[in-house]
Symmetry: C2
Subunit: 484 residues, 2 copies
């Protein structure tokens, strides 16, 4: 229906305004931009809660709809029901408080002062718990929050899955770090060369530049749906992998949006199915494909062509440099092995916050205890610990687990992909991703939001989502790399 299509289009406009803010906006425009974004949010909120939607929904004859029509109906109904359950006063209070919370968090992080952030965190948590109560109807509060990001997922299921991941990841991490360190990069890489390779990699991973663009920003991100999906990257002279692998990661998100069936454009099924499924695409591009021995062999040649001799002797050494495991505090800088341990820590802590088992004031010590237990060394300051991520200051409880769920999904998909494309390594060794990407496109990406995340992954991977393939993959890869 036209109203819905307009709302989708307005959502795209709001997204483009965010993109502009991170890439193009003059620095003196921030106050006015707040007004502009707030006005767009007001319009979108009014439309999403428009009482006419309930009328339309009650008049639709489902038996006349095809699969896409039924999926659209399901998503419209879901969004409307959720929006209608949240009192306008509460929604406004959340918006105001997270806006304030973000500023306080940024200052607290700069000062390594968790105590300064704890009171507003308690306020944000309280408001989000109220929202969860409104949504849950007597059910589990954490599940109600999680459902915003990963429809249908349950905290208890994730707890079981993550409980199986954690001990094997901790053990693998310890075994690897007992071994001699692999050599890394030591020289500086000029930014023009990094950006040139960024464009090569974006193309290699199927990004359609006629319907997208690459700009620099402080944080890499992907933005938009359908025919206008833009990514950003950044360059760090001493760490070209930061630029190259965040590009591949964002291209995973972006091509997913570009590859959704064009017939779904500007409808609720015209987007990725969930945050977890989105992350499965960005991570399989970045890790299972991009950090594979085969692909890094090809990338080594590209790096040599771009930068000349950069102190890495051969393809095997380069594969080691790309995948070396080392201690670190920061989730977003973590290697493939340790990344999920960072996420699991946050998942357990935020579940305890939402259930009331953990008081916000006690979060820092809980964080530091858990970090020491899983990573074997102590957090030195809050900005390297509990204050490192923006999410909780934005009220995003229930978001973190989608990162690891995405990795689990990527593990399942990669297992199926290897069966479907037996010649995969030989292709990746030539920088040829075409069959791998075509498989992902036709088995998963093209469907957009047609099916539930879990069904979509199960259909594509030919198995119920499980942590086993990811664990097997990581244990194989790092055992071989570190000669365990």
């Amino acid at each position: 229906m036209q109203f819905q299509r307009e709302t989708e289009a307005l959502g795209q406009v709001a997204g483009r305004l965010s993109w502009d803010q991170e890439t193009m906006m003059p620095r003196g425009s921030a106050d006015q931009r707040s007004d502009e974004r707030a006005a767009m949010e007001t319009v979108l909120h009014q439309r999403r809660t428009d009482p006419r939607i309930a009328q339309w929904l009650s008049h639709i004859d489902e038996s006349e709809l095809d699969e896409a029509g039924r999926a659209q109906l399901r998503l419209i109904r879901r969004d409307y029901d959720r929006s209608a359950k949240i009192p306008a006063d509460l929604a406004a209070a959340i918006a105001r408080t997270v806006s304030r919370g973000h500023v306080i968090w940024a200052e607290a992080r700069a000062n390594d002062d968790f105590a300064a952030f704890a009171p507003v965190l308690a306020e944000i948590l309280d408001l989000r718990r109220q929202e969860a109560q409104a949504l849950a109807g007597g059910g589990d509060l954490y599940d109600a929050l999680l459902d915003s990001y990963e429809p249908g997922a349950k905290g208890a299921d994730l707890d079981a899955m993550f409980g199986a991941l954690r001990p094997r990841l901790v053990a693998l991490r310890e075994a690897v770090l007992d071994k001699p360190q692999l050599p890394g990069l030591t020289q500086s890489f000029d930014e023009d060369g990094q950006m040139a390779l960024t464009h090569v990699l974006a193309k290699t991973f199927g990004y359609d530049m006629t319907r997208g663009r690459v700009d620099k920003a402080v944080h890499p991100f992907s933005s938009g749906s359908g025919d206008d999906v833009r990514i950003t990257t950044r360059t760090v002279p001493l760490d070209p992998f930061n630029c190259l692998y965040s590009t591949i990661h964002e291209v995973g998100h972006a091509t997913y949006e570009q590859n959704v069936n064009a017939a779904y454009r500007l409808t609720p099924v015209g987007h990725g199915a969930s945050m977890g499924v989105h992350e499965s695409q960005s991570r399989i591009y970045e890790n299972q494909l991009g950090r594979s021995r085969a692909f890094t062999g090809w990338l080594y040649g590209q790096m040599r062509d771009t930068f000349g001799d950069f102190g890495i002797a051969d393809e095997d050494a380069f594969y080691g440099a790309v995948n070396r495991v080392k201690n670190g505090y920061i989730r977003t800088e973590a290697d493939e092995l340790q990344y999920n341990l960072h996420v699991l820590l946050r998942f357990d802590l935020e579940r305890a916050l939402v259930s009331g088992d953990l008081a916000p004031a006690d979060l820092e010590s809980a964080w530091n205890d858990r970090f020491a237990a899983d990573f074997g060394f102590a957090v030195d300051k809050a900005s390297n610990g509990v204050l490192q991520d923006v999410h909780w200051s934005a009220g995003l409880f229930g978001y973190f687990p989608t990162y690891t769920l995405g990795n689990v999904y990527a593990g399942c998909l990669y297992q199926a992909l290897r069966k479907a494309v037996p010649d995969l390594d030989a292709q990746l060794g030539q920088g040829d991703t075409s069959q791998a990407l075509a498989w992902l496109r036709s088995n998963l990406q093209c469907h957009g939001g047609l099916r539930s995340p879990r069904d979509l992954i199960a259909d594509a991977a030919g198995m119920s989502p499980s942590e086993e393939p990811l664990l097997d993959y990581l244990e194989d890869k790092f055992s071989s790399l570190y000669d365990l």
Copy 2:
């Protein structure tokens, strides 16, 4: 009121979407962008015609408002009354027809085929006449259209003013073109140098880059209000004046928006007062200041610093090169002397179209006759004549005269400015525009839409708007340049 402020903010968002389309948008995103823009237009139209506005207006006690409050009320009432008078069916028909008309015009222009454009032009004219009838309530149709762009202006007044301009401009043009041609530029100017000078000139003319930015686009334009006002420019290797003077022109528009009293931001008085007043600022920056002997003397030094010896011997020769008059078909490429003759031609023809005295099918021959009369040579093809401008294909009848009205206003303002800043030439000769810009800011720009365009100019210039100062200025300038 909050509703109005949100509408203003949404208008800014829509404007930024247009900016994005001309500067950043990937070429494959055009279809989706149409949907996005249409959705924004739907929202804006609904808000501008929201029946609650009439209720609010009827409950406001004007005696409690200050000058700004009364001006806001006047502008809100004016917009609402205009919107309410236009039937929704008619507005939709106009939107559809000009969208089609634009495509047909572009193809007709490429083929130099006016006959292919005439039928849709007739449709557009008919619809806009219907709109004018709805607005005019028995009054003059052309005035009703003109009022959208220049509130309060009357076609008959402009006719008298332009009637006084035309013979003296035609005579001046003939006298100048009887004289030997002044030398122009002959070499190529690298684009990086042009862009570097663009930034120097933007700063010199007071553009606040912390609340704006400069990008390249096919057509130079200024976009936005308040704290986010962006301009574009373009570079032509053989014609650096195209880049430099369109930059100064757009900076005139942009600084006007930036300099409106910050208290008016996101209100109806937070913009320039009219198209004509806007053009007065862009033109006084570009011409009376930017093309003056004093300022070009300084600019000559900047050009030499940037490009080295570029074949112009001294400041006087450079002043001549900047201001040389030569025959041409195209309004947007016209020199300061001939520009208004192009506009006057369009004004007379569009008034005849709206009154019904001229049939759309006869427009091309009427154009060509008038062109030959005023410019002394024949139009060679429709793309150099009646099809050169986009305006009529977009239904913008009543827009053209604001260009010349802007020049007339600039003439009045410049006369007053010279009295207020007796030392102006010495300052401009140093590249110092600060006193001139401060005078424009405090006497005109800061007021935004507080007063009617005519009152605003009259207050700033200390005289009722008249064509005399512009004519005196042009006759002085070109008599001296061409030794008449």
